[in-house]
């Protein structure tokens, strides 16, 4: 026989104003199985909790129902209180008579009888609650960081400095990411390379960091604390141990006219190459798409068409026949820091995006995007920092900067603000003016978004000190007209149309998630938003967690971020991971599904619907050990407690603890509307 205690909270006047709390307690006193029912002004207050604890001890209650606010508000509070009073915390439930009753009804009579119903249903549920113990899962204290940009590097360093091994993987040949391409960074205008390179080297040399470049995530198994990640190491053709980074192979390579990704297409590279001088590791990769030898092989030539790099390599580190290899790493936590790519507005667009054919990007050589300008402005760039336009290498005297190309333009498929463009445009205008004193920097903007420490001052400086000309309005068309690039715009302040003969145009194209993000998200079973950015677990309170326990996110894979934000998120994930690693075992709520092996027939419908792959088939044996059938097994470490398996189970042979069929049946039964 259950002995349930019911505690009705007035919440000051919040509940008592419309619900007659005494009447509710009174009604529940008569309810079968209720041993005590009391009401009190503030149940969540110390005296309120003390009252609950006292009642538990005095009446040795088997269950507790708090009729008060939403369980999302105070469930933990009261479960803790019960625990302290020696009642298993899962024997305590809350009846929501505030958000779902007193706050949304006026009629005192209606509200009171509804409050009674609500409390009754929860009492009936609690009668079928079972004492549960939290689940303990062993934790592998190693972390995987996906992406070697500034966010990934920072996360890796923080975790490694915390004393735990980190596996850092990067799909390019070198870590560094977009930050390594930048010239100078706002709002301080300090050299990007100068602040980044030391971090790259530190990560490379850190005893706790194991680096895999030219590698991608192939497969992710397991669950929080116990992931097993398979990594594809793409064939590099260069032995990472033998190579000493002398660079002779690059010098020897005949294919020298390949557009360099690092230079955003403004510079050239060889087929076997190191992306940039400060690359970490300083080990080349062989680009098999553009390599003469491999082109020949693809054509089916008997004899290899080239091999100069191999001849040039004294360390004999080059092997044309290497294949992709796979390594598996056991880790307990995963940080996703795959960063962003720029909206490639020129060529054919992915589904939902329209591009900006009218801006001539890709056709007019002197229409470039922000990253290309960064390379022009970078001392280590193709022009050694001189601002020269791509078409004829002349110094542009008039440069137009266009804000919000793609961003904030639902018409073109992207509704969000890319956030960093206002700042880097200001920076670009400044850098340009610093280098071309007699030049004109004209920026078309919708409005300036310069939130952030020193940001607004910075963008003002561009205008007030460096004389950048800001035109409030959109650009309708950009096209080549003889030697100049015509920019048709509209000044919404003067209300006049503006036509500018520019020498070069820089488009602040939107930030988009990296290619393949959806596939990766699927492997990690995390969700992405409509644009492909990875969803955080809660927009405010859990910004670096995902819905998959043990998978965290840092930087621009979650939304457009600037460097300080990406670094802050990275350190936040570091803290999360270190927190996870602080105990040998992980404690989880026991809200997981459990299979009744006596009635399960192993039809595995549950396996089909489980979003987490938590269910697998398992053989059952007789006492003498011979296999007598197969049943479903739910891995409590992976199960997240959605209960979808239970709803599809024809024989009802799987039960979700804390939401069992008996509990729900009793709740429905409690709402019996007879007589």
């Amino acid at each position: 026989m259950s002995r349930v205690g019911v505690f009705v909270c007035h919440c000051g006047e919040n509940i008592a104003r419309t619900v007659d709390c005494e009447a509710v307690a009174e009604a529940l006193r008569e309810h079968p199985g209720v041993a005590v029912a009391e009401d009190y002004k503030y149940m969540c207050s110390d005296p309120g909790q003390a009252l609950v604890k006292k009642a538990i001890e005095e009446n040795n209650l088997t269950g507790v129902v708090i009729a008060a606010c939403s369980p999302h508000m105070h469930e933990k509070t009261f479960r803790r209180a019960c625990d302290q009073a020696g009642l298993n915390q899962f024997m305590c439930e809350m009846a929501n008579v505030r958000e779902h009753c007193s706050w949304i009804h006026e009629d005192r009579g209606e509200a009171t009888s509804k409050a009674i119903d609500i409390t009754r249903t929860i009492v009936e549920k609690v009668k079928h609650n079972r004492p549960l113990e939290s689940i303990h899962i062993p934790v592998t204290k190693r972390a995987l960081v996906i992406g070697g940009g500034i966010a990934g590097i920072q996360a890796a360093l923080d975790i490694a400095d915390g004393g735990h091994e980190v596996v850092l993987i990067e799909k390019e040949a070198s870590i560094g990411g977009h930050m390594s391409q930048l010239s100078e960074t706002f709002p301080t205008l300090d050299c990007s390379q100068c602040i980044l390179t030391p971090r790259m080297v530190e990560a490379y040399q850190h005893p706790n960091i194991k680096l895999h470049t030219w590698s991608e995530v192939e497969k992710v198994d397991g669950y929080i604390g116990n992931f097993e990640v398979t990594i594809r190491k793409k064939a590099r053709s260069v032995d990472e141990d033998l190579c000493n980074g002398c660079g002779d192979c690059q010098a020897a390579c005949p294919a020298k006219r390949i557009p360099s990704e690092f230079e955003a297409g403004l510079g050239k590279r060889t087929a076997i190459y190191v992306p940039f001088p400060q690359a970490v590791p300083n080990i080349p990769v062989l680009d098999r798409v553009n390599c003469t030898l491999f082109k020949g092989r693809r054509k089916g030539l008997k004899k290899d068409a080239c091999g100069k790099c191999k001849e040039a390599c004294l360390k004999e580190a080059i092997d044309f026949d290497t294949e992709d290899t796979f390594v598996t790493e056991a880790v307990g936590a995963i940080v996703v820091a795959t960063g962003f790519k720029l909206y490639d507005i020129g060529r054919d667009q992915p589904e939902g995006l329209k591009g900006y054919g009218e801006y001539g990007y890709g056709e007019v050589p002197d229409v470039i995007d922000g990253l290309q300008f960064e390379r022009l402005a970078s001392a280590s760039g193709p022009t050694e920092g001189a601002i020269l336009r791509p078409s004829d290498g002349k110094e542009p005297k008039t440069v137009v900067f266009v804000h919000c190309v793609g961003s904030r333009d639902p018409e073109k498929g992207i509704s969000y603000c890319s956030k960093i463009c206002c700042m880097y445009n200001a920076k670009h205008a400044m850098l340009y003016k610093h280098k071309v004193h007699d030049g004109r920097a004209i920026a078309f903007y919708m409005d300036i978004r310069a939130g952030g420490k020193g940001y607004d001052e910075f963008s003002r400086r561009a205008i007030e000190e460096d004389g950048a000309e800001y035109v409030r309005g959109r650009v309708s068309r950009i096209f080549r007209d003889g030697d100049v690039v015509k920019v048709w715009g509209y000044d919404t302040l003067s209300g006049e149309q503006v036509v500018i003969d520019a020498d070069m145009v820089v488009l602040a194209t939107a930030m988009r998630p990296q290619d393949g993000i959806r596939e990766l998200a699927q492997k990690l079973s995390v969700s992405t938003d409509e644009h492909g950015f990875i969803n955080e677990a809660h927009p405010k309170l859990r910004p670096v967690e995902t819905n998959t326990a043990g998978v965290f996110i840092a930087g621009a894979c979650q939304a457009p971020r600037d460097i300080p934000e990406a670094v802050a998120m990275a350190s936040a994930t570091g803290a999360k991971v270190l927190g996870l690693f602080s105990a040998d075992e992980l404690e989880r709520e026991p809200a997981v599904a459990v299979v009744d092996e006596n009635t399960c027939i192993g039809c595995m419908r549950c396996e089909l619907v489980c979003p987490y792959g938590a269910i697998e088939q398992r053989e059952i044996c007789t006492v003498d050990g011979h296999v007598c059938g197969h049943v479903a097994y739910v891995n409590p470490g992976v199960c997240q407690g959605c209960g979808t398996c239970q709803a599809v189970c024809l024989s009802k042979s799987v039960e979700l603890q804390t939401f069992t069929d008996e509990q729900i049946f009793s709740e429905i039964n409690a709402l019996c509307y007879w007589e």
């Binding site: 006596n598 009635t599 399960c600 027939i601 192993g602 039809c603 595995m604 419908r605 089909l608 619907v609 088939q617 059938g629 197969h630 599809v648 024809l650 024989s651 009802k652 042979s653 069929d661 008996e662 049946f665 009793s666």
Partner: protein
């Protein structure tokens, strides 16, 4: 038929199987036969009276059939769909049974006759109309001549469903409450269903007791709805549930309606391809949701 008897004899003699489950002639017409002795192979028949879906004997819970040893099972096209169902739901290993397929031109609605009679629109089992699997693919042996299409019954099941659909809600409710009201909860429908293979049927779960055990209209309603829902996208339309129902509840109308629903909503038809995953347990991002606010 001789072809069938010959094969049965061979399979039994060379020990490929220990028992052949087929049909035989008995005092009250055709019925399931369990032939273990090659000498008895001549008992086997196949004609328009062989209505039974024998796949129901492969229910892994039927220990007394399993005891007979490896089974050779005679299946019509519709029966083979049930085999696929069992394979799909991991209730059968394909290697554990030898499937003897028979080309089928349809069967009788009323099979308790002393001798086979040719099919006519009056006597053909309505479910045979428009059969899409008269030559089972999922078999080890396929016997018999190619058969003509079964005749169109006087009234097709679809026409009956349509007639019911055309009635106002009140009349449909009156119709089904009368039908389900007759139910005595013998569970014959479940027992003969080749896909109802649960160890413990939800109707027999007592904690909690979702479905009231006694045969009152309310318990009957929840039982019959649940039975139907559990077969959504699984029912192979063998009609055994309706045929065995001692009080004649037209379960085939429920089953057919479900087939129409999963057909229209998810473009799904039950086939004898085990890889053809059932629609419930699967989903598409763009599934119709016009009924959701």
């Amino acid at each position: 038929m001789n072809e069938l008897r010959e094969l049965a004899r061979t399979l039994l003699t060379d020990g490929t199987v220990r028992v052949i489950i087929g049909w035989e002639d008995a005092r009250r017409g055709a019925r399931p036969a369990f032939v273990t002795d090659p000498a008895d192979a001549d008992r086997l028949i196949f004609d328009t009276r062989c209505v039974h879906n024998l796949v129901t004997y492969l229910d892994p819970r039927r220990d007394n059939v399993a005891e007979l040893g490896k089974i050779g099972l005679v299946v019509k096209g519709c029966d083979a769909k049930a085999i696929a169902g069992l394979l799909r739901e991991a209730q059968l290993n394909r290697d554990d049974v030898v499937l003897i397929g028979v080309r089928c031109g349809g069967v009788l609605e009323e099979n308790e006759l002393p001798a086979a009679v040719p099919l006519t629109p009056e006597n053909v089992a309505p479910r045979c109309y428009g059969c899409d699997n008269r030559e089972p693919a999922l078999v080890d042996h396929l016997l018999g001549e190619a058969q003509p299409e079964p005749p169109r019954p006087v009234t097709t099941i679809d026409e009956r469903v349509a007639a019911l659909d055309a009635k106002p809600l009140e009349e449909r409710w009156a119709f089904w409450t009368e039908q389900f009201g007759k139910c005595v909860r013998c569970y014959a429908c479940r027992q003969v269903c080749p896909l109802c293979v649960c160890e413990r049927c939800v109707a027999e779960k007592t904690r909690p007791q979702w479905i009231e055990a006694s045969a009152h209209p309310r318990g009957n309603m929840s039982w019959n709805i649940t039975r139907a829902l559990h077969l959504a996208g699984r029912c192979v339309d063998c009609g055994e549930c309706e045929r065995f129902c001692p009080v004649g509840i037209p379960l085939s109308l429920m089953n057919r309606k479900l087939q129409q629903i999963v057909g229209e909503r998810y473009g799904y038809t039950v086939s004898d391809d085990p890889e053809n995953a059932a629609p419930i347990g699967d989903y598409r991002l763009d599934d119709k949701q016009e009924f959701i606010k």
